[in-house]
Amino acid sequence: MGQISVSNITKSWGAFTALKGVDLDVREGEFLSILGPSGCGKSTLLRIIAGLEEPSGGTVRIAGRDVTLDPVWKRRIGFVFQNFALWPHLTVFRNVSMGLELRKTPKTELRDRVLEALEMVQLEALADRLPAQLSGGQQQRVALARAIVLKPDVLLLDEPLSALDKNLRQDMQVELKSLQQTLGLTTVFVTHDQEEALSLSDRVVVMNKGAIEQLGTPHAIYNGPVSEYVARFVGEAFFFRGSIERREGGSRLRLADGSAVPVEGDVAADGDGLAFVRPEWITLGRLDPRQETDVPRGTVERLMFFGQSSDYLVALGERQMRVKRRPDAPELQPGDAVAIHCTARALRGERAAP
């Protein structure tokens, strides 16, 4: 059993079901992200772990103790809110010290611990400021210091970086991760940003409509999604559907236009199949009609430049595919006909429209 153990948690408001029996174990010292679009129940799950929300059913255990019936203030948690929720009438120091004041911590110990926490987030110089006098990133750090000063059993973060602009967000990601590792804190991090989830986490939970769709390492989630939903949500994906052809040396997916794509992974026995590719799995080649008869073909529409990398937008019939440009490959021009070489990954499960 993990540091946090959630079993069969349900939550409904009237006819609306936010969580449909969620089971989740968070290991000690682990950084776990809950990823999903808004409305998937990820924040509700976090708030239930914190005790800010009451589950309709199921149990929550923290550090081996059943806390399902405990109110928030009795659980030993640190919580960071999306909009920081700092107390505007108190200084940075008092914002951080309130938890210790409530526990009647002796004065000198309180002072030492608050300053230590502020030092960890590099804010000791601003202890006397009011929250309104701080930048967004600094407010974020105060919120973090306020949560860790109590040495909580678990740290719960509800989209804490989404209110920051992009550069600051990336800096804070690095800081957050190193702080979490230094303290060895069991951390649950809710986000709708897949890059954030992949880069920070030991494991990622992908949620969909109140249920866990997949739980795994960032690598497994990205490269081996269990469903079209996960493949779509966790990164850029292009889907092929067709009929499975099994033969020596691997299976292929025969598409409607007669071309075929090699597939790997969990390939269904035969019949209809669905597979996807990521932009960096694909190699584009100039089309040689004499040689390559059943390779999928496309037309380069344009090159999108992002600075450190660039993508080709390739039209395949009505659809568009993104392909990461390889630095060593010859440059293609808009209008060039290309052959699409890739090995797609087979998916099982629902057959939603592409």
Binding site: W73, N83, R94
Partner: protein, 286 residues
Amino acid sequence: MKRPGLLTLPAVTILGAFFILPLIWVFILSVLATGPTGEVLREVTLQHYARFLTDSYYLNDLLLRTIRLAAIATLFSVAIGYLGAFVIVRAPPAAQSWMVLLVMLPLWVNLVVRTLSLMVVLGRTGPVNQILVALGISARPLPLLYNETAVVIGMVQVAVPFVVMAIYGVLQSIPRQLEHAAMTVGATPLAAFRRVTLPLSLPGILAGSVLAFGINVESFVVPILLGGGRVRFMSVAAYETATVSNNLPFAATIGVILLVVTMAMLALYQWAVRSAGRPTAVIQAG
């Protein structure tokens, strides 16, 4: 619009003509002498102020009582008003506008009518006394009318809606999440309220109490009707001095003294609350 200052012209005109000018006239009146039959003389004097400030009847029985009753009524108004505002803010959003409407409802009824109905309620055979006797809390009907208690009850009834609205506005602007944040660091709901919501709602309490005190201290209908002439009150005394005693300058003096004392008290009060509410960071030095 090139000169937005022009837009304030109607307000300035109305305030100037019907408030500032009469007020200046009252000041002038208060330093003019009164003739033997009550006529106003063209003779500057401070005799009215001297008369008021040296007579313990005027000072204690009139001025101090007025301030004391207004202050007590303000205390109750703010306590009751805060509770009311709090209940409304924590009610479901759909219910909130109805509850606000309910609070404002009394303001649609004429003050005299409201105060007269309060006389019925507080009378010897009124519902309050009937309940007290029926429950055995009191052996016989209590004298609830024509005394200070009646006046205070009347003033509270007048001021509470204003206090509710002043505090409701401020409470509504405090995110609920701030209390939740306090609970995540171990505060019980009561501690979270005391450490977060209460200090943040201080501006509302300040505004509400200033409003209530201002309304109460100039009360006129309430002390006349519920005090029944037995509870002396500044505004009533000024009115009687002007009409019954036909001494306009002394009536003006009573008005000026009430105004000056009230403004001084409100200024002192605001200063006290502001400096008490200022955030402190002293612990760190310790």
